[in-house]
């Protein structure tokens, strides 16, 4: 699965994207965020305000309770500030 990061999430993690193999038991976006936070201080720093993190599964806005099974690309990013 491809993970892709934007804005300060990207900066704090220190990369724009990566390929990951999810361990068994990661079913929802919330599980994914929790697992990522355990991977290092950079992830913890980026994702500690977990409720604030927005997520898109295959380029569609999704909720933290949504399932990640079958997703090709999951994007994590701060609240949007366009316009």
């Amino acid at each position: 699965m491809k993970l892709i990061y934007f804005a300060w999430v990207r900066e704090r993690i220190g990369m724009a994207e990566e390929e990951v193999e999810l361990p068994a038991g990661i079913e929802t976006v919330s599980d994914l965020l929790h697992w990522l936070r355990g991977r290092g201080e950079n992830y913890e720093s980026a994702l500690q305000a977990q409720d604030m993190i927005r997520v898109a599964i295959d380029k569609e806005h999704s909720d933290h309770s949504d399932a990640v099974a079958g997703a090709k690309e999951i994007a994590l990013f701060p609240p949007m500030t366009g316009g």
């Binding site: 892709i4 934007f6 804005a7 300060w8 898109a56 380029k59 569609e60 806005h61 994007a75 990013f77 701060p78 609240p79 949007m80 500030t81 366009g82 316009g83």
Partner: protein, 155 residues
Amino acid sequence: MAVEPLVRVQAGPIDLGAEIAALECDGAAGALVTFTGTCRDEGGRLEALELEHYPGMAESEIARFAAEAARRWDLLAVAAVHRYGRVAPGETIVFVACASVHRAAAFEAAHFLMDYMKTRAPFWKREHLKDGTVGGWVESKDTDDHAADRWRHVL
């Protein structure tokens, strides 16, 4: 049938005259409402805004809400153009246009589309300051979320 929206995300400047001229209403429109969002100079301290975006999703999200505007209101034309990359003070960041037979639909649809683009289109602004430093990421505003939420109850 609802009109086909014109949606574009681009790095270069937005030519407002050309965008307006490209709207084809065949003389049927009695109203054309346009909105242009412009980069402020923040009291002279801003050198430029840098807009990061999510290629692919930026276009599809804007198209989704432009189509929703065309579904909710009787529009003869709807267009939305958003820039990414570096934008200098005074330059246009976003352009929205809605045309309709009477003005109410065009005003409301343009307002709706802008409110959703602020909160749902995947763009992030960062400030570059005149003193050479890179400022922080612009924080989202609750007022923008409330502005978008308001439309849930319309129609």
